[in-house]
Symmetry: C2
Subunit: 172 residues, 2 copies
């Protein structure tokens, strides 16, 4: 099993790109998480859920759609949704067209919290990530990473449990 052919070590350039990406994103995420916790008592995932809902036209989404976009397991989303609902930041109601599904709605309190937290969030991102980058840099960075994102979205996890609703091909 596990026959990884052609796995030469990474050369310094490849290693460098990988490392700097991981370090930058780690520090940024850590800083963002600290701010969200301090300022709104929110985890990053919770903020993603609220922000995603408040950004959507209807302010609502199916649980599965949320799980796919935000979190890696359904039970994890249920856990987070329970917390958000207990705080009155979202509400859940059955979907009219498919009674198995649950529609998650952001409440006024949820929108208010997002609005309250957003400035600080923006401030952290601006200070840490955006400050050293010119407009041109941002454009180039996005142009480089967007294909990687698309590639990642379509590349199957291979030995991992499928993130979407596929049947599980046993392994490999």
């Amino acid at each position: 099993m596990r026959v990884p052919r052609r796995v030469r070590a990474l050369d310094p350039q490849q290693l460098g790109a990988y490392f700097v990406l991981m370090e930058v994103s780690s520090i940024l995420r850590h800083a963002v998480e600290q701010h969200l916790r301090a300022d709104g008592d929110l985890s990053y995932v919770q903020f993603q859920i609220l922000a995603g809902l408040s950004g959507s036209a209807t302010g609502s989404q199916r649980m599965t759609a949320l799980a796919d976009s935000v979190v890696y397991s359904r039970s994890g989303l249920t856990y987070q949704a329970d917390l958000l609902e207990a705080r009155g930041l979202i509400s859940r109601s059955p979907a009219p067209d498919d009674e198995r599904s649950i529609i998650v709605n952001i409440t006024e309190a949820g929108r208010a919290l997002v609005s309250r937290v957003l400035p600080g969030h923006v401030e952290v991102v601006s200070r840490l990530l955006l400050e050293p980058l010119s407009r041109k840099d941002l454009e180039v960075l996005t142009r480089l990473l967007a294909p990687v994102r698309d590639h990642m979205r379509t590349t199957p996890p291979r030995s991992a449990a499928p993130r979407r609703r596929n049947k599980a091909a046993p392994d490999g």
Copy 2:
């Protein structure tokens, strides 16, 4: 308190760069973590510790140096070091010049595990991150992110507990 001046919302270009960076790094980290767990029963932090040690000339480092480079709290590093030591992957011995300090050494078993896990690690990184990027892209990406990393390293967390060994300025 908390007077964030000039926090306009991010424009689409800034948002796009931020989002794509976070999504790419999240997926990559998740995939890497799954591989390390499946292939070597290692967390990402544990791998970082081992890889850092095996990369260093002496195969050893002080606990504090490791904590600074890898983890955000000292107790967190102690926890991970306990696990690694229990598996015989590292050893700890008092530093000769400063008896408060502990020198962490990677063992032969530790090096062996890194060697065993590395090909799969490289494979995951190559497949997910590197594949859609040309050599030129890698160079540009690193050139863009390296200053961000340096900026982040020197930017104080502001409202967060200092990551290094500074005195804690109460807040703000």
